[in-house]
């Protein structure tokens, strides 16, 4: 080992001892363990400087709290350290490719964060006088205009809080439209490949779900829809279809399907989760849809935040527009008018009710509009083209080694593989996904859609560079080759290098521990 004149070693030594060496703390350099705040916090402090109020006689009647609030606190530096350490146990888009199919994990511009925090938006109360918030109504209306233009529709309900809430909103508008013409239908058709939220939403609002089988090429057969419509004649309220669908394919006969639905007096609900593939390429309104929610957190890049908040505005066809829920903004010759209760309605407006308190996810509206304005119509179209190009680039990079359930044909913005290529390797889709973690990738969506075995749904988004995709493809190829060559050690028990090894989900569900409890004495 070479030394400088003070005896300080200047070259590394002992490299061979690295890997499995235990540490006293359990930490491994930058990988640090972090106990629960209940194990670290102080039970007798407040980490925020608050002045003790002067003596006064409370006016709480006999409602004052007698029970203690047993929650510990951190000072500010301790708070920083706790959450920064926790954050470092998370994978994130900003850190790497996040190919979670149907989730559209694209870049989240920080300009949008900055603008959403302007006091004129963030420090604005939903019920302050309308005259003091005209810029907010203007922003909502401008975003609504963009959404209508992009989808070729004439109305949009802005208040739904997320995609599933948007589905609920669209389906409630459909129910109301049926009621308005004196009909009560009981069935909603949902293709087998649909997101779980579709059947859950239909059931939530009282409909019976009838599944439409997928055909061998992964798309919906108009004949199958026609058969179901005939079988349940006069009873079908709507079809809920995802387009592009969850197999990553555009439904080529969507117009025929729409016509069939309309001829049967039903409505066409489209799940817009995959809208990112076709922005600026086709308008859902032109394809015959009556309602479609748009996940602003997917297509228009509002941050996913570890599981929300989302935002799910629903565009509506002319037939459904009158039934949009309160509140909404009415355009008049004098300008914009907020309609927030039934006493303000004019002829023709028949809202079905209200989805939520207040106006919807304003903070997300600001971000989504900033995203749209930044891209412009040309940039949005380019983004969709790049998203589809990237997915196909991944497809051709892998299709000789992995298995495409529907043959070697173009996909939209996500590519679906099944687990045929893992047959007889002893490696499952789950193992494969966990091995990707060791390679520094968040796995793709796995075991969804349900229509293929061991599904792997890869959505790279337009945010990835060619170099990033090349490395991703090369990594997956290397993994596949290992699996096929019988090197199962790379998969069994993976991940090996993540903050945690595989977690026991069965034990978690069998005896749920859903909160911290103080250890009992003795």
């Amino acid at each position: 080992m070479s030394m400088n004149t003070q005896g300080r070693p200047t070259a590394p030594a002992g490299a061979a001892l690295g890997e499995q060496r235990k540490t006293f703390t359990g930490n491994r350099a930058l990988d640090m363990e972090e106990p629960l705040l209940f194990e670290l916090g102080h039970w007798n402090i407040c980490g925020v400087d608050l002045d003790e109020p002067e003596e006064f006689s409370p006016r709480l009647g006999n409602h004052a709290r007698q029970s203690e609030i047993a929650l510990p606190a951190f000072t500010e530096p301790e708070t920083m350290r706790h959450y920064v350490r926790l954050s470092r146990m998370n994978y994130a888009i900003d850190a790497g490719l996040y190919p979670l199919g149907s989730c559209t994990m694209k870049h989240n511009p920080r300009l949008n964060e900055k603008l959403a925090r302007l006091a004129g938006f963030a420090d604005l109360h939903p019920l302050q006088p309308v005259s003091t918030a005209s810029g907010a109504y203007e922003l909502i209306d401008m975003l609504a205009e963009w959404l209508m233009q992009l989808t070729g529709t004439t109305a949009v309900a802005m208040s739904p809080k997320a995609g599933a809430h948007g589905e609920q909103c669209g389906m409630m508008a459909i129910k109301q439209a049926l009621l308005a013409r004196g009909e009560q239908r009981s069935i909603v058709l949902v293709p087998e490949s649909a997101h779980g939220t579709n059947p859950a939403t239909a059931a939530l609002i009282g409909y019976k779900v009838v599944a439409v089988p997928a055909r061998d090429d992964g798309t919906v057969d108009p004949q199958a829809v026609a058969d179901k419509l005939k079988e349940h004649e006069g009873e079908v309220a709507a079809l809920m279809l995802t387009n592009p669908n969850t197999c990553g394919l555009f439904e080529p006969q969507v117009v025929e399907i729409a016509n069939l639905i309309h001829e049967a007096g039903a409505y066409f609900y489209c799940d817009g989760a995959n809208f990112n593939a076709i922005v600026g390429k086709a308008r859902p309104g032109d394809l015959g849809i009556d309602a479609m929610h748009i996940n602003l957190h997917k297509t228009f890049s509002t941050p996913h935040g570890g599981g929300g908040p989302g935002s799910g505005p629903v565009v509506l066809s002319q037939r459904l527009a009158p039934f949009a829920p309160l509140p909404f903004i009415r355009r008049t010759d004098e300008g914009l008018e907020l309609v927030e209760n039934t006493s303000q309605l004019v002829e023709g407006e028949q809202p079905f009710g209200r989805m939520t308190a207040f106006h919807g996810q304003m903070g997300m509206f600001v971000r989504a509009l900033a995203y749209m304005l930044s891209h412009g119509s040309d940039g949005l179209q380019q983004a969709s083209e790049d998203a589809v190009l990237n997915a196909n680039y991944v497809r051709v990079g892998l299709q000789d080694l992995m298995s495409l359930p529907y043959g070697e044909k173009p996909c939209m913005h996500e590519v679906l593989f099944d687990d045929t290529f893992l047959k007889d390797t002893g490696v499952t889709t789950l193992d494969f996904a966990k091995a990707m973690i060791d390679e520094g990738y968040h796995p793709m969506t796995m075991y969804f859609p349900l229509v293929v075995h061991g599904a792997m749904l890869i959505e790279p988004t337009e945010s990835e560079s060619r170099a990033s995709l090349d490395l991703f493809v090369a990594t997956l190829r290397d993994l596949v080759i290992s699996a096929k060559e019988g090197d199962t050690s790379r998969f069994e028990g993976a991940p090996f290098h993540a903050p945690r090894r595989r977690l026991d989900e069965t034990a978690a569900a069998r005896k749920p521990l859903l909160k911290w409890t103080a250890p009992t004495a003795g």
Partner: protein
């Protein structure tokens, strides 16, 4: 375009690799006559500077809460959020991650959710809490549906003290369900309704907000007892979570489900969203609870770790048999709540609540001293209702012109009820100063003169 890494050279090379001559070949499944070339009606791309200028101008047209004495509540409250909170939730690893489907690489989110659930359960006095709902109003609707599942009954009795928009959300979903009914009591500004008389054997749940929409503090115990006598559940609702720092928890009073708005802790007003619904219940009902839940487990080496659990209740597994259709919830808002709560601790929340209450008491005394103004509440937390000798809408507008945002005219939410036309709900928080309070009283005096 600054957000798109592919160059034209990349695109050409990638198309060659794929074996296509033009990008439109990838869109071949879109019917020819439905394809669009361009979105002519929308503007082209803008620089960061241009976008910032445009949206800043829009923001400047609004009167931010902090710009004047501010007393608007009614379900959303202006509180001070420590700068630390907003910094931490903007960490890339929290902001740009998603639902923790792969627990090995999302322990940060999962542990934070586990801590959040623990905090919510403790505050509400309940056994378990979920990992958040969209907001208080949608959470309340979910609570009613959950009660129907638990009791196998379908009649909800709703207090006239429930936030009117919350009531509308519950009525909206109930109207969808065959056989479900809602008995909604009339507006109850004085907190004197007889809800006990409405509870019978058909009742699935009783929905009571305390502090109520009008700021009244409601004794939940007798309601819980009567509900339980009839095998119904008590759903206790709050819109101001800071109240739990000073008011007895709904759990101690016998509530079966506690649901409310968590915005006040950690989250800005945001003109109504995103917010965070808090949802807690008894252990025995946990498998009927909606939404995501995080649970403790161990990994293959025996180390403690956290996972999403009880997912067999959820839509992605159970589809049309799920307990709810909720998928994406309010993850980042829940994190903000949890960080702020972690800085406060139990002691801090209590102190914050006392400051809020103190300011409200001072405000009630100041406004009550204005001639013709009546404070309806004998007891309250940080919000109360005043009756003014004029139309409340006119008074609020006139106050705004005088530079005071003085509350919410009840008729804005209940336009069809003439008996509330003179009522205003008024909130005070730790952000109000004595000067704010004096300014309000002076402006009100002037407006009413």
């Amino acid at each position: 375009m600054r957000y798109l890494p592919l160059s034209d050279n990349d695109r050409a090379a990638m198309m060659a690799r794929i074996g296509i001559d033009g990008i439109d070949e990838l869109f071949a499944d879109i019917p020819q006559d439905k394809r669009i070339k361009a979105l002519e009606s929308l503007p082209k791309r803008k620089t960061e500077l241009e976008v910032e200028r445009l949206l800043s101008r829009m923001a400047a047209k609004n009167s931010a809460a902090g710009d004047q004495p501010f007393f608007v509540g009614a379900g959303a409250y202006k509180h001070h959020v420590p700068a630390t909170v907003d910094h931490l939730i903007q960490r890339s690893e929290f902001l740009t991650s998603y639902t923790p489907y792969q627990p090995e690489i999302t322990q940060g989110t999962l542990q934070a959710l586990f801590e959040f659930q623990t905090q919510v359960a403790e505050l509400t006095g309940m056994d378990v809490a979920n990992a958040s709902m969209y907001d208080g109003s949608t959470g309340t609707a979910e609570a009613v549906l959950m009660a129907h599942r638990v009791t196998r009954k379908k009649k909800a009795v709703i207090s006239g003290g429930l936030h009117p928009q919350y009531r509308e959300v519950v009525e909206g979903i109930s109207a969808q369900l065959p056989g479900a009914s809602v008995v909604a009591l009339p507006a109850d500004p004085y907190g004197t309704e007889d809800i006990l008389a409405q509870i019978d054997d058909d009742t699935s749940c009783v929905v009571v907000q305390s502090p109520s929409f009008y700021g009244q503090l409601i004794d939940l115990k007798p309601i819980a007892e009567k509900a339980h006598d009839h095998k119904a559940l008590l759903i206790a609702v709050f819109t101001e979570v800071v109240s739990l720092g000073l008011i007895e928890s709904p759990g101690v009073q016998g509530a079966d489900i506690v649901v409310g708005e968590g915005q006040s802790i950690g989250n800005a007003l945001n003109f109504g969203g995103p917010y965070v619904g808090l949802f807690a219940t008894r252990q025995k009902y946990v498998r009927n609870m909606p939404g995501r839940v995080c649970g403790e487990t161990v990994d293959a080496e025996g180390k403690r770790g956290f996972v999403l659990t009880l997912s067999t209740r959820e839509q992605h597994i159970r589809r049309d048999k799920a307990t709810s259709n909720i998928c994406t919830n309010s993850g980042l808002c829940a994190l903000a709540f949890s960080i702020h709560m972690t800085m406060l601790g139990g002691l801090g929340l209590n102190k914050l609540a006392r400051i809020n209450h103190h300011n409200a008491v001072k405000l009630a005394d100041a406004l009550g001293a204005v001639e013709g103004v009546e404070v309806l509440n004998k007891a309250f937390f940080n919000e109360f209702t005043i009756k003014v000798p004029a139309d409340a809408n006119d008074v609020i507008e006139a106050l705004a012109v005088n530079g005071v945002l003085g509350g919410v005219p009840v008729s804005r939410l209940l336009p069809d009820q003439p008996d509330v036309a003179q009522l205003i709900t008024v909130a005070a928080t730790e952000t109000n100063t004595q000067d704010d309070i004096d300014a309000y009283a002076a402006a009100l005096k002037e407006v009413l003169a």
